[in-house]
Amino acid sequence: MSEFINTENKTIQYNGPVNSADYNLKIEQNYQDLVHLYNRSGILDQQLKQAFERVLKDQLFLSQAISDIEDRLKAVENSSSLEKTVSIYNYSQIDNASFANTSFAVGASNALYFDYVHNIITLPKIDGSSYSKLKFFNSFTGQVVPDFFEAKVDNSFVSVDSPGVVVDTTPIYHSVLDSSDKYWKRNVILNTASALPAQTYVYFKIPASYGGSDKSNYMCMTPFPVFGVDIISIHYTTIENPSMSQSDGWTPLNVNKTYDGIPEAVGKVPPGSWTSVGSDIILNSGPVGFYFPPTAVTAIRVGIRQRNYIQENGKYVYTYGLSDIDIRSNKFMESGKAIIKFNAPTGTVIYDVLNVSPKIYNIPEELIPSVFDYRVIYRDSGVYTLENPGSSDSVWVEVTLTQLGDGTAPVLSDLVIEYE
């Protein structure tokens, strides 16, 4: 900027300029600087509008591209060589309202809770008894980072993110702040490209109970850049005063190795526990959320990896981090219901529902019958009934979820209906 400043820094003697030429030059320079600053602010304003318009239009067509893929997937599901299937694509399919004054009515306090961001349908949540272990708020200043918040990075892996490397980072606590311009990024900057990825553990200490339950049962996070970072593992410890180092005795969050080796469960179970090491890594992860049995977690350790670099100004920059993370104690009703609507593809009808398969990945497969139940509802001459009228444009599935004996809230990730 300094090259644009016209006003010269001149020392004036004798109580001010005695020469009108000097005085007029100074005034002229002041004027030119003001004109320049006014124009710069005007151009910035215009550039912002143009950039925003570009983002809006890009986003508009990105959204449409996802809609196209959703439609194509529906068509693929419906044209499977095995059975025709339909599943959940949008939570507007949860159609409790249509049954308000019928024998199938679902009361508001009994309705299953759904989280759109993390694609979770689970038990009715009791908001008043649910709270975060990492995010704190006060009524005067909004969100605060308490002085007992502790987090650290361990970059002792064989990777480009190693001790002594040049790093450009924002504070880790930015990852728990619900502010759009606050996120944790860690740029690892190299002079030459490397075949190694950047990899690190990030530790978060869970403060000792400050009232309420000392147990946690939910963890969610959004990597930065979203869909650009691998989540390689999630572990926890229950020891008192953890040192947040390798010696704390870490346990995989997926402690029971549920769905070990089942590819479709990748991304739906916390990574870092399957028998074949690395087979449960979530590559290019989007937002993820995991429910687990209530556990007295004292610290959590997340392994993240960036395999790609961006070349910036002749340097090789590996960018990763988190734009959001939370550990929560969520309280639920013991059971709940939802009625989910499934439409037959355009131009077809559903003659019979052959099978209903719940996709629940946080409960062992053999225990699913104890947490999931369903009924198929049809509409015959405007009346909802359990009797199949023979052919239907739409069917509804009444889902009942029940808490597992150890307190785990089952998470319904999808519901697949096979029909003919």
Binding site: D45, L73, E264, S413
Partner: protein
Amino acid sequence: MSTSYSLNINNFKTREPLFKRVRSYYRSPRKSYQENLIANQIYIDIQRIYLELEKINLNILNDIKIILDKEKDNDFTDLNTDGSRSYSLDSTIVDPMTFHVKWKSAASYTTVEKMDTMDTLSSRLSRVNYKLNRIEKNG
């Protein structure tokens, strides 16, 4: 406000300072009212530039807020009945903008009034990834 006018070519706004150049010829000390007027005009101009920059800063933050929606702030974005979140293109937060789009499969133009936030787009993409993964693995 300061004087504004638009260049026809690119519609860039150019503003002129309130402060005017006054050429001075003198052999003796200048009049104080003239000096004070100049000082005041420069002060007002600097204040205006400062406010302009503040406004730009605020606009950037507002744009980021509605697109990312990390704060889940109902003043900026709308919670839809299916749990997704969107922002209105015709709001007081951003400069009103209306898109009339003709999608490839549509017979007529659609007016787009709402846009998915990044969280909602990410969620949809995650769901699509999961379903693709399941179909690929199960055949």
